[in-house]
Symmetry: C2
Subunit: 229 residues, 2 copies
Amino acid sequence: MSPQMQTERSTESKSQQAYRFIRTRIDDGRYVPGYRLVLGAIARELDVSVVPVREAIRLLEAEGLVTFERNVGAQVALIKETEYLHTMQTLALVEGAATALSAPFISPDHLARAREINERMRRTLDDFEPSRFTELNLEFHAVLFEECPNPHILDLVHRGWNRMKVLRDSSFSFVPGRAHESVEEHERILELIEAGADALQVELAARRHRTATLDAVLAAQSRHPLPSP
Amino acid sequence: MSPQMQTERSTESKSQQAYRFIRTRIDDGRYVPGYRLVLGAIARELDVSVVPVREAIRLLEAEGLVTFERNVGAQVALIKETEYLHTMQTLALVEGAATALSAPFISPDHLARAREINERMRRTLDDFEPSRFTELNLEFHAVLFEECPNPHILDLVHRGWNRMKVLRDSSFSFVPGRAHESVEEHERILELIEAGADALQVELAARRHRTATLDAVLAAQSRHPLPSP
DNA sequence: CCCTCGCGAATCGTATATCATTTGAGATAT
DNA sequence: ATATCTCAAATGATATACGATTCGCGAGGG
């Protein structure tokens, strides 16, 4: 029916293509923080010109996944400890707001799905696998945010998550007992929403959920501080 | 001493130049919401090629000042009522956080400067001029945020302000009694900071300062609702 | 042995050229 | 009269070409 669906997508612009290409590699860790993004090399690999590649990189820069210095080039963003702290703080803020704003629109079905995911998280607690846990964690919050009425705030949440992805294999990883607490906090948030709690109460609970993680990481860091550069 | 300061700046890239060019015109209202940004025309006007102009426009798009549709082009963002609501809501959130985070670092000098600006705002209340008031309002908050320890959150505040600028002459303008309340709320926020109040209390006061404006505008809107598109 | 200078390769920045898409005016048919 | 079709002009998207900048490496001097 549709005339030009020979391959699959109607059409994807070259710059979108380049964006996905790079983005995928950052997300899955093939491009680690600090990795240099050379326009010409990526262009050749994708068989496009450097112009769309450059555009894609500037977009990634605007999202904070990449740093770009004039006449020098781009690299996957290096996130230092203070940077990490700032991002987590911001994430606490916007996740808290997103949760509170979404709460009135959360149906019993949403609650059930969120609980189901959280129970799966609970079951992964023995034979623990960080990446799996993180994935479920994102799913959990994604369900809560499905009905978020403010797309800006939701966008900020996603930006924060993206930024966190860059850290995956970096020095900031997991804190032992934290996962267990996390599951309990999820349950508490669900209960608050279910009970139709005050918006501020929900916001602060969701916020604390994030700041608690931050505190745990910082505490662990202080026992194994990063070498100062 | 410095070898290449013939004119002024060391050098500004063409895309930065294009960015400033467009940005200035959006800020001062020469490019109103909906105004079409034609690559070739801007390029000719600046005597550069379309490539840097395109880059500048994509940057503005990422900041939300411009919308860009593939193969169609760019225009200064049109902000609808719900959009306005979302932006204000987000601004309330991030300004609240920025104020609370800054509070511990605010010196008596900062307080004095902020008060001075606020008093100037108070004096403009008779023979009122909206643009002047808005300008001072930004200055006031800028002083409070000078010591904000989290650059991300500060950045979000600035983005919100920029987005609001686009509205300048649009349907959402000023609500009569609001300016007076605004000055009082500023004073209350300063007092809280001065007293070393709890962070949450400061945050909520700053947040309410913004949401009160939002409520006032919406109330006014409902008396003079926008035509639905 | 270390520091400084200058050259050249690598890479970025921008201009120009070309291809692709959209859009609207006018023609044509219903 | 309205709807649809066709085509050309306007504009965006991308490729290619070229000039500009950075940075490392090796020669020469201290």
